[in-house]
Amino acid sequence: MSQAIQFDPIRLPREAEELRLEVRDFLAEEIANGGFDPHRTIMKSGFDREFSKRVGARGWIGMTWPKKYGGHERSFLERYVVTEEFRSQNAPVTSHFTADRQSGPVLLKYAEEHIKEDILPKITAGDCCFCIGLSEPNSGSDLFAASTRATQTDGGYLINGTKLWTSNAHQAEYMIGLFRTSPPTKENRRHGLTQFLVNLKQPGITINPVRNMAGKHDFNEVLFEDLFIPDDHLLGEVDSAWKQATSELAYERSGPERFLETFYVLPELVRVIGQKPDARAAEGIGRLVAQLHTLRRMSVSVNGMLQAGKEPVIEGSIVKDVGTIWEQNLPAKARDLAAFVDDTPSNRSNFDELLQYATNIAPKLTIQGGTTEVLRGIIARGLGLR
């Protein structure tokens, strides 16, 4: 077996807890002023460019990035606190979240200097939205079967093909896209894919909405027809995107957003159950809270271990696996526990609405960002079985 599993019981440092209070004040003020409506974020859309700009103005986007690019050189754990507080209040982070979590870091690592200087400050200002162009009609989990082509031309590449399930492409300025620059080789089936920065406001791109079964427009189909990408928009090494999926995945896989996506159901459950629950309801709530608490401790631990320079790859995958299953099952458990709560409009209408919504989106939680099946394969590899 590989390295033993480790979850140091890390606590958030003082400066992170002080930051938490600032963030709570900010969010409370925003809600009081009508800056955002938590209910609307859940049921309709979390995309709010003006809100993102206000967050950027507070220095809470690109928190861990170098100051020279508009970042703030703060710690992973401080970022963790901002992320979890925003999630707990259902703040509308959609416009900046992907850029903050993964696209910015990719640019930091692989983009040319002038691109970094141009785009990163826009992200940290909350004025730039990124989407991820990975999945296609014929490839999702099997990332390296991607076939959208990037053909070399004078000064750059021409892109032809289709990306699918691209969340927020319709609202984003940029995409980080994975395109095929060469066929795979016999020795390495992952060879031949390259990461590119794609400016979405250009001719040659058609974006079609794909409505999900909850009635929301998040997904898109993105068609490329001879889209031109200049050479300097290539990220990293040609044909070598497979080398660029680094330990970023550890924190990308195990942040609070990976188990808090249905969290709003839980306080509403506590509200409808009331202050004097029977044993059945009390037990149910107790178990859910114990499970959530443990998940959070694991997630803080992974981020803390990252901060300390470790590479908790198996731990990160475990947190995502356990976390997504938990958040997926939460609406079902809440439904069971609320089964005997009186059905008066004032008591249950908000809870029922949120419960039904969470139930409707639950299927996607173990699919997005890496399916359970793939994650378990990664964990198995971490155990030395593959």
Binding site: M1, A4, I5, Q6, F7, D8, P9, I10, R11, L12, R20, E84, E85, S88, L266, P267, E268, V270, R271, I273, G274, Q275, K276, P277, A279, A281, A282, E283, G284, I285, G286, R287, V289, A290, Q291, L292, H293, T294, R296, R297, M298, S301, I314, E315, I318, D321, V322, E373, L375, R376, G377, I379, A380, G382, L383, G384, L385, R386
Partner: protein, 354 residues
């Protein structure tokens, strides 16, 4: 974060490797191993780890003691080490001297209550007491009216009805009737029975964590050795995914137990946060046991179901430990009541308190 003494861990590991190897004990035809193991632990001061040096113990930190017990879980050690540590901790709360030798504690079920009569004898019944039959002394948390007291009772002075439990370690019933303790004193101001349950529960959380780590290793090793359909069974995706789930349940237990242990170790006083962490850990580690034990047995096939194989030494203890010092259900009801009473808007502040 709590510091743990690495030398202590190394020394204890060596004792367990030499004198408590699960395969050796499993094949033993006599119980000579028991006194050899106990003597070694006593000589290194491990049995009185939580007794202050002033009272003749080794004055180790709570973290050190808990870490030793995680190791005891890793080796499925079949002697009352955790119970003796807890007994020493309890006696020391009232500044009572601690005897040598094997000890256990009572009650181990939160709802069992032992009363102290007018003439200072003990009255009542405690179920599921681990190792009552081998313990020379039993340290009892008992009540005079509502006031908690700590007493030491000789094993010989109680009526003990044996029940092997699932592991054979013993989950005996003790009847106290007109029982005169060897020593007794009131518990210190502010001490609550729940504090004692919390310590017991966290001991079990750490042991469960240790044992799960071992069965994860046993199962992954076995899957890589065992050949079926012309390949190692570890090559089958179904088996890989089951082992991944076992690893996840183990990880959850490591994290939960470690967090509770750290909280108790660094707390300056017993409070709601200590309860929250310890209750969560006992619930979640208890929940891990079911699926983890099932997967470990499933991967091993028939051989893992035999007496000869060592897997049962772990799984049977896991099934006993999750019942001790409060089951998942009991702790969950208490935790759920606390959460409900505080109200929906206090849930997030509770989760983020530390």
């Amino acid at each position: 974060m709590s510091e743990v003494d690495p030398l202590l861990i190394d020394a204890t590991t060596k004792i367990f490797e030499d004198l408590s190897d699960p395969q050796t004990l499993n094949s033993a035809t006599t119980s000579d191993w028991r006194s050899a193991l106990w003597s070694a632990l006593e000589e290194s001061g491990l049995t009185l780890a939580w007794v202050p040096t002033d009272n003749g113990g080794s004055g180790a930190s709570l973290a050190d003691g808990f870490s030793i017990l995680e190791l005891a879980g890793k080796f499925a050690v079949p002697i009352p080490l955790g119970e003796t540590l807890l007994a020493g901790w309890l006696l020391s709360k009232s500044d009572l001297d601690c005897p040598s030798g094997m000890m256990t504690v009572a009650p181990s079920r939160p709802r069992d209550k032992i009363q102290i009569t007018e003439d200072n004898t003990l009255e009542g019944r405690a179920f599921g007491i681990p190792f009552a039959n081998v313990a020379e002394n039993i340290v009892v948390l008992a009540y005079k009216g509502e006031a908690p007291h700590i007493a030491q009772v000789s094993g010989k002075d109680c009526v003990i009805k044996s029940n092997p439990g699932q592991s054979g370690d013993g989950r005996d019933t003790i009847t106290f009737s007109n029982t005169t303790p060897i020593k007794i004193a009131p518990a210190p101001e502010g001490f609550s029975g729940q504090e004692f349950c919390i310590m017991g529960a966290t001991i079990r959380s750490m042991q469960i964590s240790g044992a799960l780590q071992s069965i994860l290793k046993l199962a992954t090793d076995y899957a890589q050795e065992r050949v079926a359909f012309e390949k190692q069974i570890s090559k089958f995706q179904a088996v890989q995914h089951n082992l991944a789930k076992l690893a996840s349940e183990t990880a959850v237990a490591i994290a939960a137990a470690g967090s509770a242990m750290d909280t108790i170790n660094t707390a300056t006083q017993y409070n709601e946060l200590v309860f929250f962490e310890a209750a969560s850990a006992k619930i979640r580690t208890g929940e891990s046991v079911g699926e983890a034990a099932a997967i470990a047995h499933q991967v091993h096939g028939a051989i893992g179901f035999t007496e000869e194989h060592i897997l049962h030494r772990y799984t049977q203890r896991l099934w006993d430990w999750r019942d001790d010092f409060g089951s998942e259900s009991e702790w969950a009801v208490e935790l759920g009541e606390m959460v409900a009473e505080r109200g929906a808007d206090e849930l997030w502040p509770l989760l983020t308190a530390r």
